[in-house]
Symmetry: C3
C-alpha cells in the first residue's frame, strides 16, 4: 500500500508537472500571438485609409480613443474615435490623397506587452505620388497605447509627431527605454 501510495503521488506529481508545462507554453504562445495580432491591427491602417475606408479605419480604435498628431508645423490636435476620425478620413485633403495615390506605411514598431494592455513605438511614413514617381510627404514617430477588447486588440491612444528634431518627437522615441 505504501508503494501504491507513492506511485499515486508520483503520478499526481507528473500530471501536475504536465499541467504546469502546458500553462507555461500557453502563456508564452499568447505573448507571441499578441505581438502578431498587434502588428496585424496596425497593418490594417494603411490599406483602409488609403482606399478611403473611413469608418473601418476609425474602428481600429476603441470608441472614445484618440489620435493626437501634428502637421509639419504646429501643436498637436487630438481627434476622437470613431466619429472624429471617420470625419478626418473624409476631408478634402484626405480624399485628394486617395484619388492621387498614397500609402500610409507603418514600419514595424517596438512592442511591449503588459497583459491586457500594450505599447508600441515606431515610425510611419506617408508616401505620395507626383507625376511618375513617389515621395515622402511625411515621416513621423508614433506611440500607440493598445488594449485587448472582446473584439481583439484595439488602439486606445495614438500619439504622432513628425520627425523635425523636436523634443516631443525624441521623447516619443525614448519611450522604448522603459522596456529594455
Amino acid at each position: 500500500m505504501a508503494n501504491r501510495g507513492r506511485t499515486w503521488r508520483a503520478r499526481r506529481r507528473a500530471r501536475g508537472d504536465v499541467e504546469q508545462k502546458l500553462e507555461e507554453l500557453a502563456a508564452r504562445l499568447r505573448a507571441a500571438e499578441d505581438q502578431l495580432d498587434i502588428l496585424r491591427l496596425l497593418n490594417r491602417y494603411g490599406p483602409l485609409v488609403d482606399s478611403g475606408s473611413a469608418a473601418e479605419a476609425a474602428d481600429l480604435w476603441v470608441a472614445g480613443g484618440g489620435y493626437d498628431f501634428t502637421g509639419v508645423t504646429g501643436d498637436g490636435t487630438r481627434v476622437e474615435a470613431p466619429r472624429g476620425l471617420a470625419a478626418l478620413y473624409q476631408t478634402d485633403v484626405h480624399t485628394d490623397l486617395v484619388a492621387t495615390g498614397v500609402a500610409h506605411l507603418t514600419a514595424r514598431p517596438h512592442i511591449t506587452l503588459h497583459g491586457e494592455t500594450a505599447d508600441a513605438v515606431g515610425y510611419s511614413l506617408v508616401i505620395r505620388r507626383e507625376d511618375d514617381h513617389w515621395y515622402l510627404w511625411r515621416a513621423a514617430i508614433n506611440h500607440w497605447a493598445l488594449a485587448r477588447t472582446a473584439d481583439g486588440w484595439r488602439i486606445t491612444e495614438r500619439y504622432n509627431r513628425v520627425l523635425d528634431g523636436s523634443l516631443e518627437s525624441r521623447a516619443t522615441m525614448r519611450r522604448i527605454l522603459a522596456d529594455p
Copy 2:
C-alpha cells in the same frame, strides 16, 4: 473495484484533456509559424531580385504561378513562373537596376490564413539610386495568394498595382475587409 474504475476513468479523462490541450497549442503555434514563414518567403524576394538571382526569385512561386503587374501606366501583364519570371529578372531594364543599386522592399503585409492557403495584402516599394541619394521609383499595393507546398509556403498569384488612385489599386487594398 468501483473506486478503481472511477480512478481509471478520471485518469483517462485527464489524459484526454492533456492530449486536447496539446493539440490546441499545436494548432495555435502552427498559425503563428505560418505567419512567420509567409513573411520569411516574401522577405526573400528583394535580396534575390536585387542581386540578380533570377532563377531563385522565380522559385518563390509554384510552377505555373503568376505575377500580374502594371507599369506607371497601362494595363496589367501576367508573367508566369518559373520561366517567364526568371526571364523578366534578366531583361536589360532589370539588370540595369541591379548594376545601379536597387531595393525591392516588401512592407509587412496583412496576412489571412485559410489552413493550406493564405492571402497577404500590402505595399511594396522600389528604391533606386540616383547620384548620391535614393528615391522611390515605384510604390504599389499587392495581393499575394499563397499555398502550403511540400517545400513550404509558395506564391500562387501576385497581383500588383501602382499607387495612382485607380479603382484596381483601391479594390486591392480593400481585400483586407474580407477578414476583419
Copy 3:
C-alpha cells in the same frame, strides 16, 4: 498481474509521449520567439540612434562586437562596441541628424536561426528632413550576425553596404541563399 504490468507500461508510454510532444512544442515555440526577439532587438536601433541615445544604441551589440559600414563612396570602416559606436552616435554629423529630424529604418530582415546564434539579412534606410518633406539619404543592405546572451539576443557583427550595385552589396544580399 501481467495485465497490470501492461497497463503500467502503456501509461508510461503515454506519459513519455506527452513529454516528447511538450518538448517538441517548446522547441518550435522557442524558434518563433527567437525570430520575434531578434526583430525586437533590431527595431530598437532606430528610435535609439534617432533620439541621440548613444550608449543605449551601442548596447545592442555585445562588448567587442562591430559595425562595418561604408559611406556613399569608399571602403568599409569597422567601429567597435560599445565605446567606438557610442562615440559615432555623438559625432557632429550624427547630432546634426538628430536635431534636424531623422529615421533609421530597419526593414524586416530575413532571419536564419542556428540555435545559440543567428543571421539576419535585410535593408535599412536613413530618412532625413529637408524643409517640408523627407528624403532617402541612404539605402543599404545589411548582414547582422547575432548571438543569444544572458541578456537576450545581441548583435556580434553588423556589415552594411550602400546600394550602389557593388559586388559587396550584391554578395551580402545573396547570403540568404545559404538558407533556402
